[in-house]
């Protein structure tokens, strides 16, 4: 025991060694010892990329059905596309528990909005703006919702709408969008189809859907947290929301593997 009058009763450092600050997560920084270390959460079960693009009559968006638990491909039936209102879709990547929370928020939003029979309906810009405010409010509380999302639909003028918002409350818009790995792998491919806003007019539904399908295939080749089973939503004024589930990345190219031998000079 320490007999120093100011430290009386405490364990003597000479006997027991100094206090181990790692115990009970005490903050090792001097002068801030009263504060426990704070951890914002981390994602546990996660969903990978969401990719989307505009075309002249609407938008197309896709996300695979995998719920990863670290590297473990734990759930293969997670739906990450959510239709909201008449002609809007929200695609969500990131933490799945937060994704489920957001999907409930959107459902509540839709229910509340239908109470007024005023001829107005929830459209993509409103939903995007709402989500951005939710994300920003949460990150400001140091308790972010760990997701990146893409909202697709039509704007107030009836033109195709596509906008991104993420866990920080950052938002931006582009004629082609992708979250997560998709930003690296899919965006370059999609930008070959639509480079800038004025190109949207030149692209029809068929071309857009094929581009997205091709990207899902590339993502499956190169994203170690992805699946070849995915959902896709196409929204047009004519057909409304068309939801396709359990799609498979088809025509994958693997046969060339047989010609690859060794890693340089080996011929056998």
């Amino acid at each position: 025991m320490d007999h120093d009058p100011f430290r009386w009763g405490r364990p003597n450092d000479a006997t027991y060694g100094g206090y181990n600050t790692k115990i009970a997560h005490a903050n090792p920084q001097a002068g801030n010892a009263a504060m426990p270390t704070m951890n914002t959460q981390q994602p546990i079960v996660t969903g990978t990329s969401v990719i989307a693009m505009k075309f002249k009559d609407g938008i197309v968006i896709a996300a695979d059905n995998l719920g990863s638990y670290g590297a473990l491909a734990r759930f293969d039936d997670v739906e990450r596309l959510f239709p909201v209102g008449e002609n809007t879709v929200v695609g969500i990547s990131g933490d799945i528990s937060d994704l489920q929370y957001i999907s409930r928020l959107l459902e509540d939003l839709e229910i509340d909005n239908n109470y007024d029979y005023d001829g107005h309906s929830l459209r993509a810009p409103h939903i995007h703006e709402y989500l951005q405010k939710v994300f920003y409010a949460r990150r400001s509380k140091m308790d972010p919702l760990w997701n990146s999302t893409i909202v697709g639909g039509f704007d107030d003028e009836g033109k195709p709408f596509l906008k991104y918002v993420d866990l920080l409350g950052v938002k931006y818009s582009a004629p082609t969008l992708a979250t997560g790995f998709g930003a690296y792998l899919a965006s370059p491919i999609l930008r070959k189809v639509i480079f800038e806003e004025k190109d949207v007019e030149k692209v029809d539904e068929e071309t857009a859907r094929n581009a997205i399908k091709e990207c899902m295939k590339v993502l499956y080749y190169r994203d170690a947290r992805s699946l070849d089973k995915y959902s896709m939503i196409t929204i047009t004024k004519e057909k409304g929301v068309v939801f396709e589930k359990n799609l498979r990345s088809e025509n994958q190219s693997w046969r060339f593997a047989k010609d690859i031998k060794g890693y340089g000079t080996q011929k056998v």
Binding site: Q41, I44, Y69, F75, D95, L99, Q100
Partner: protein, 194 residues
């Protein structure tokens, strides 16, 4: 783990509780009743999962008095989910909820660490589960008979026990069907060479 089968659901678990590498309890009961025919499998922190199960048990009891009818497994799963989701920073709880009622004929919900819910035909969780993902995926069948589903569960758990140092002891099984609740115990000499 919990598995849906022809007549209802079965829940199964090993009986090992560890503090580090010391076995604190070698005959643990990790299959916990939260309502008549709604049970859960607890993995993660024993203290956390016991506390959460107790809270859910209370809410389900309250639900019955307020609604004048028994809760569904889905309701139980939602309650578990809400608690683990809102307290994700404080809890270490990986849960499986399984229940039988005449309407659904049995349901299984997996609630992993972050507090998401996943309805599944069968679910595995806990440290030992990592070793049996392959075997269970290959050998699971929908609508198994009671004998088949017990064999499935027993084999899966015996493999988890064999390869995982944090799993061990006896295999406990609970069967929930229209007939009622049935408990089974398999001792190491019965499952080691199963």
């Amino acid at each position: 783990m919990a598995v849906k089968f022809k007549d209802g659901v079965v829940l199964g678990a090993d009986s090992r509780t560890t503090t580090g590498s010391y076995i604190a309890n070698r005959v643990t009961d990790k299959l916990t009743q939260v309502y008549d025919k709604i049970w859960c499998c607890r993995s993660g922190s024993a203290a956390d999962t016991q506390a959460v199960a107790d809270i859910v048990k209370y809410h389900l009891d309250l639900y019955t008095t307020q609604h004048g009818k028994p809760p569904t497994a889905r309701i139980a799963a939602s309650l578990f989910q809400e608690i683990t989701y809102t307290n994700k920073d404080a809890l270490s709880a990986g849960l499986i909820v399984a229940g039988y009622d005449d309407k659904t004929k049995g349901e299984v919900y997996s609630i992993p660490l972050g507090g998401s819910v996943h309805k599944q035909p069968y679910a595995i969780a806990g440290s030992g589960s990592a070793f049996i993902y392959g075997w269970t995926a290959k050998n699971f069948k929908e609508e198994m008979s009671k004998e088949e589903v017990i064999n499935f569960t027993k084999t899966a758990l015996s493999q988890a026990i064999k390869w995982d140092g944090s799993s061990g002891g006896v295999i406990r099984i609970v069967i929930l069907t229209a007939e009622g609740i049935e408990r089974l115990v398999f001792y190491p000499d019965e499952h080691e060479n199963f």
